[in-house]
């Protein structure tokens, strides 16, 4: 393998991984605060990409302009799902939570299919296939933007969680629901907020994919599975872990795709996932088991 190919694979992997990071950060945030595995998580990404498609067909809007709208819309939807549904099963059996979220996922897929049909869709922008060449490597513009935007959003979210009052409240709830409540934090409000943010940044990941990805209503499920892998790899509920885990899985997949072919690359992440579960169940960033 020549160094060019080697570095090209790493670049491609990081570009994919950036999106994974964003999706996984959303998932880990929701898990960290509510201890609930969001089985409908990938569907929020799917909704994001369809919002971009909708804006493009309706008003010829560029996907990057759509980002704030998509964020706001899916934030509202996420908060609503939390308030109306998830909130009521927080203390129920985990299986009931899973089925409920699977129901949400099926419902969302159905709704999108109803409005946009099950046919693959794509949007077309001038920079769709534009590429920059540098250092002997090729960088697709849309993916470059997606990567840096993902980094930036994750970073902003990190700052938000650590340096704002609300962000600190979210972290307080994730550490102890009861203690946070005693300190006068409105825990339910934090829950709506967290689910909203988790869903919204995942939707933004979808919008970022829009310029050069085809979309189908069931595309979210693959991302859900990847997000599970990443989140376990990076320790459930750990922000930095999810972020780095996304990049790692992106690169691993890129190499697996190169050696094994695109259709079986997922087995590499699955093997990593299973090995992590077995030998380091607390994830790369968790405390060691006693």
């Amino acid at each position: 393998m020549s160094p060019e190919i080697f570095f090209q694979i790493i670049v491609n992997g990081l570009f994919t991984g950036g999106i994974y990071s964003l999706v996984a950060v959303g998932l880990t945030l929701i898990y960290g605060v509510m201890i609930i595995v969001n089985f409908a998580h990938g569907e929020f990404l799917m909704l994001g990409i369809y919002v971009a498609f909708w804006a493009w067909t309706l008003a010829d809007m560029d996907p990057y302009i759509v980002i704030p709208f998509a964020f706001a819309m899916i934030f509202g939807l996420g908060a609503l799902v939390q308030r109306g549904l998830v909130q009521r099963v927080l203390d129920a059996h985990p299986l009931n939570q899973i089925i409920l979220l699977v129901g949400v996922s099926i419902l969302l897929i159905g709704l999108v299919q109803f409005f946009f049909s099950a046919e693959p869709k794509a949007i077309h922008v001038p920079y769709e296939t534009a590429v920059i060449s540098a250092f002997g490597l090729r960088f697709a513009i849309a993916r470059l933007v997606a990567f840096f935007a993902s980094m930036a959003i994750s970073f902003c979210l990190y700052l938000f969680l650590h340096y704002t009052r609300t962000g600190k409240a979210i972290r307080a709830v994730s550490q102890s629901r009861d203690a946070a409540r005693l300190m006068g934090i409105n825990v339910n409000f934090i829950y709506y907020l967290t689910f909203g943010i988790g869903a919204a940044i995942t939707a933004v990941a979808g919008v970022l994919l829009a310029p050069n990805h085809r979309m189908i209503p069931t595309m979210g499920q693959g991302y859900s599975v990847i997000a599970f892998v990443v989140v376990v790899l990076g320790t459930m509920g750990n922000f930095i872990g999810a972020f780095l885990g996304g990049l790692i899985i992106g690169v691993v997949e890129a190499f697996a795709g190169f050696y094994l072919g695109g259709d079986v690359k997922i087995i590499a992440s699955m093997m990593i996932f299973i090995l992590i579960l077995l030998f380091r169940p607390a994830g790369l960033f968790g405390r060691k088991r006693t």
Binding site: I98, I99, L108, A118, F228, V229, I274, P281
Partner: protein
């Protein structure tokens, strides 16, 4: 002490026999189950449409698979989400034995049960050896399913991406191929009857109490002398073996199999999880009640709404799952149980049966 219920003093044997059954919720549930089985057995008399019979047969198979999952997830509370792995392995075992080695499905299905059971041993061993906690176990089974799908896609021995199938042109009892639907229904019903009896025996025995104790509190169970690892593994193996048998028969009924179709979370929800959860997870009647509601409902939606815009059936099915969880968290059987206790209370406040 209040006065004795007149019925207790009655010497009428039929009456005391009825009391024996109906004062006991477990037995009452079994009566409900067998009434449903009887109803299903009679359906070929008044339904001639092969389409509707087909739905009923699938619902019956789903009931059996649901029972197998109920024992693992409902009784011991283990989050074995991708239970469909065992169904798929059973189906593949049966068709490989049939196509490649010309072994009759009657034997093949039993071997499928053994193979799936052994896979269950492996899965349970890994889980227990490494002490996977609830959520992680759920995700582990999903990852395993995705990995197996990829593996099977590349594995030519089991047909790879092309899948495996057989032709229905040459019906014979030996090959478990029939010209009409009724025999399939009666085989499926026999499986369900066996499944119900196995489930009931387990539930009422020491094993069943231990299963429930593990579900309710692992540590407390082990302080009372329950070898929790052993019983958890036992539940997974029993469930896996039953799912393997069910999968073998499913294969013979649907005639075609390919990896993306069976190693699939969507089908897993429909075939494994939806029934018991709608019916009432952990209850005796849950899997069959749920399967009979879930499958026909999903099919009718698919059929009736196929004319309309695409996505209709998904919308309705998704809402159905959500509404069930929101308004009947203990499933239909949970609602029935509440009604049952209310009736008993009204008849005689002191005669509360086993709950």
């Amino acid at each position: 002490m209040t006065a004795e219920n007149p019925a207790t003093t009655s010497n009428n044997p039929i009456r005391s026999w009825l009391k024996d059954i109906f004062l006991d919720w477990d037995r009452t549930q079994m009566v409900i189950c067998f009434l449903l089985v009887l109803f299903l057995a009679l359906t070929p008399l008044f339904i001639s449409s092969t389409y509707y019979l087909g739905i009923i047969i699938l619902a019956t198979i789903y009931a059996f698979i649901g029972i197998s999952w109920n024992i693992v997830a409902g009784f011991t509370g283990q989050l074995l989400i991708a239970h469909i792995i065992f169904l798929a392995i059973g189906a593949y075992t049966t068709i490989v034995l049939f196509n490649t080695y010309s072994i009759s499905p009657w034997v093949g299905i039993l071997i499928a049960g053994v193979v799936s059971g052994l896979c269950g041993v492996v899965v349970a061993f890994i889980t227990l050896r490494y002490g996977l906690k609830v959520d992680y176990f759920a995700l582990f089974t999903i990852a395993l399913m995705v990995a197996l799908r990829t593996l099977f896609l590349k594995w030519d021995y089991v047909g790879g991406a092309v899948g495996m199938w057989f032709s229905l042109t040459d019906p014979s009892f030996d090959k478990m191929i029939f010209a009409n639907k009724a025999p399939y229904l009666y085989i499926a019903l026999s499986l369900v009857v066996i499944g119900l009896l196995v489930q009931y025996r387990i539930y009422r025995s020491k094993m069943g109490k231990y299963f429930l104790a593990i579900r309710e509190d692992d540590d407390a169970a082990s302080a009372l002398g329950v070898n929790t690892s052993r019983y958890k593994m036992l539940a997974v193996v029993i469930g896996a073996a039953m799912a393997g048998i069910g999968g073998g028969f499913y294969m013979m009924y649907v005639t075609f199999i390919e990896p993306p179709q069976v190693f699939n979370l969507g089908l897993n929800i429909e075939i494994v999880m939806a029934g018991p959860i709608i019916g009432g997870l952990g209850s005796l009647a849950g899997p069959i009640v749920g399967a009979l509601l879930n499958k026909p409902f999903a099919e009718i939606m698919r059929g009736a709404l196929a004319e309309g815009r695409s996505g209709n059936s998904l919308i309705v099915y998704g809402s159905f799952l959500i509404l069930t969880i929101m308004f009947m968290p203990r499933g239909v059987t949970g609602v029935l149980h509440t009604i049952y206790r209310r009736i008993l209370n009204r008849l005689n406040p002191r005669n509360l049966g086993d709950s």
